[in-house]
Subunit: 441 residues, 2 copies
Amino acid sequence: MKTFKVAILGCGTVGGGVARIILENAEILKRRAGVPIELAAILDLFPEAASKRHGIPRALFKGTGNELTPDVATAETGAILSDPSIDLVVETIGGSSDRIRDLALSAINAGKHLVTANKALLAKRGPEIFKAAYEKSRAVGFEASVCGAIPIIKGINEGMSGDRIVAVNGIMNGTSNYILSRMSREGLSFADALKGAQEKGYAEADPSLDINGGDAGHKLLILLKIIFGIEAAIGDFPVTGIEGVSAEDTRFAREMDAAIKLICFAKKVEGGVCAAVRPMMVRSANILSDINNATNAVRLTGEYSQENVLIGQGAGSLETGSAIVSDIVFIARYGEKAVRPHGANGNALVPFDDLPMPYVIVFDTEDSPGITGLVTTAIGKERINIDTVSHNVRGAGQSGAVFSIATSPCTASQIARAVAAIRAAAPTVLRSEPKAYPVLE
Amino acid sequence: MKTFKVAILGCGTVGGGVARIILENAEILKRRAGVPIELAAILDLFPEAASKRHGIPRALFKGTGNELTPDVATAETGAILSDPSIDLVVETIGGSSDRIRDLALSAINAGKHLVTANKALLAKRGPEIFKAAYEKSRAVGFEASVCGAIPIIKGINEGMSGDRIVAVNGIMNGTSNYILSRMSREGLSFADALKGAQEKGYAEADPSLDINGGDAGHKLLILLKIIFGIEAAIGDFPVTGIEGVSAEDTRFAREMDAAIKLICFAKKVEGGVCAAVRPMMVRSANILSDINNATNAVRLTGEYSQENVLIGQGAGSLETGSAIVSDIVFIARYGEKAVRPHGANGNALVPFDDLPMPYVIVFDTEDSPGITGLVTTAIGKERINIDTVSHNVRGAGQSGAVFSIATSPCTASQIARAVAAIRAAAPTVLRSEPKAYPVLE
């Protein structure tokens, strides 16, 4: 029986997890793959430290000494790629630079299958990587790039291939969900909740991509490709992060029996697919409203299967590592059958802002007579139907009132005009900026 | 490009769904399978009625007239099985009789792949069917047999193959979950909730297998096989249905911030795997407590991936049909690579009753002084540690008190003795039978 040989490039948090899982489960993985899986080589710039940190034999690491010089690293990488016995390369270096893109393409062009958790790389360089892989009949495994350990890619590609998915709504960035959860539960400000996330290790020192929606956008790009066959690029759909969400807003949400979540949203509509990453008001009847802390969840709506929700851990060394190993097993088992055609299949993105959705507009006001009429008249002029208006005077010891207006489905541009109209109509009694959130029922 | 030809045996609710999905999605399925999928033949005893009911061309049905005689049905089945151009047979007749077992084996022995949603068949006849298929290098697809549209089988086999699953907890029978949900929410009796389920079409005229845990047990048997490699038989683990759950119990649960759910339970322990189907008290922090009505959910605990929860529809014509079509696509795409080894892999079942679990013992009492001491002393004598005792006097307009005792982990036999001890210690003030439920946190 031929052995399926794997090399890991980059032995940090995730790469180290992959190595450990392969080493600890030889018999199980062999049974599942139908062929022995061998960890043949690891490349890391700091082999001694990586070996100690993860408890992996030093002999598996390429190069000598504590630290590889750039020249040695390049030479050793070349040695791995030109070794005809290596079947698959795991890229766990990270980043989406030309260098990483070139490395991925070199691995494929050298005839290796590629497995990666690198959503930024796939979001920016996906089309060229998938094209090269298809032309070389090599598979690209990226289960770990979307929601870590949740089997979302194979759930869709293999488990739901008999269905037509028409909508996806996901909480796909653990850091921002952790921040929103703490803001909601503890009344923390965004800044304090972010600090807490950094202290807990949920957020990087530079958390921009997590909180500005960029990371969630990368994952939505990948889902757009596998679900709808759309090869979109960053910037092709609107992405709003959570920086603009205030503790006040999360309190409004709670009082309305909802929760604010950063939602990766895509929906099949007449003429195409609408997509966006946005903070949305998720009603408590929707299970996504209950997904807290760093947990990820994806709700898929199928033409036939109705709702499927997959919930799990979106990050972590062994969590993400196990998803990478699942890809290795899959490719070892199915070989060239695991290669998928690249390219778009006719679906196109259409503007999210033209999609009618229910909205909730929330703000704090003085408890002043006549304000309900003032505000609802202003909104009515924008031809928005109001479903419910609630103007709850606060309880003992608090002053003012929470004003929330739930609209019938209308577009984002109608809502923008309505918010401006509220500001104009009731400038003296507003105690917070009116903000509008799309509503997920 | 060769066409992959499919025959459907039995065109009822599910078979009709399969036929419709194949006919409506030719282009999509071809792209996903990498080969055109053709519905070549349908066998149903009432071809005219089935054709009209599902809107499927009559020409696809074997035989003439409104109804096939048994002889004609046998001959036409034989014609399908001996047609070398048919690649795969979908068995959607149902039942686990010798006749259906023989039909499945004949299909496999004639060189056809087999896809079925028939959990009773796989629970009772699985080992011989999987063995025959392995020997003939034919695949058996059964995604639809466990939780209908939820991609649980491929989620486990393909998406989580890099992990070791150590526990599974599932709500895997929609009928019983619908009944428990209505009992809990509306205070209905078991009998009234069952009647409601029958009226809504969620329960059969003979609902035994749904409410006695048998159907859930069949599904757990299948999961034991694919997760732990255990080839168990019905009767190898305890199965308790929901007939013994009272409206009172569901009220106790609500008051304790929990919900009673029929749980398919399996857990890796020292020396083997514990399995049971039992009503359990699921704490509100566990997402399974929020799964209501006919929805199914499975929580998988992985050595590496931690918790993954998959939620979706467990039944329905197109829901289950889409899962069957996913199997067809999978087998068309991967061919003999989709064949899996049969047989056990060394894991064994160990008694569930020896597994220490936290329990909750609930009952109604008079509001009488001294009862707490009486009851807790009796329990203490059974060497059970009590975590919390709550003895809530009911609100205005109600008399008596709800007594609930949460224990530290202990075994089912300890609990049985404790319940007997409570009965003996406090016979005059008990207003309901003490019942014990294992607790899922």
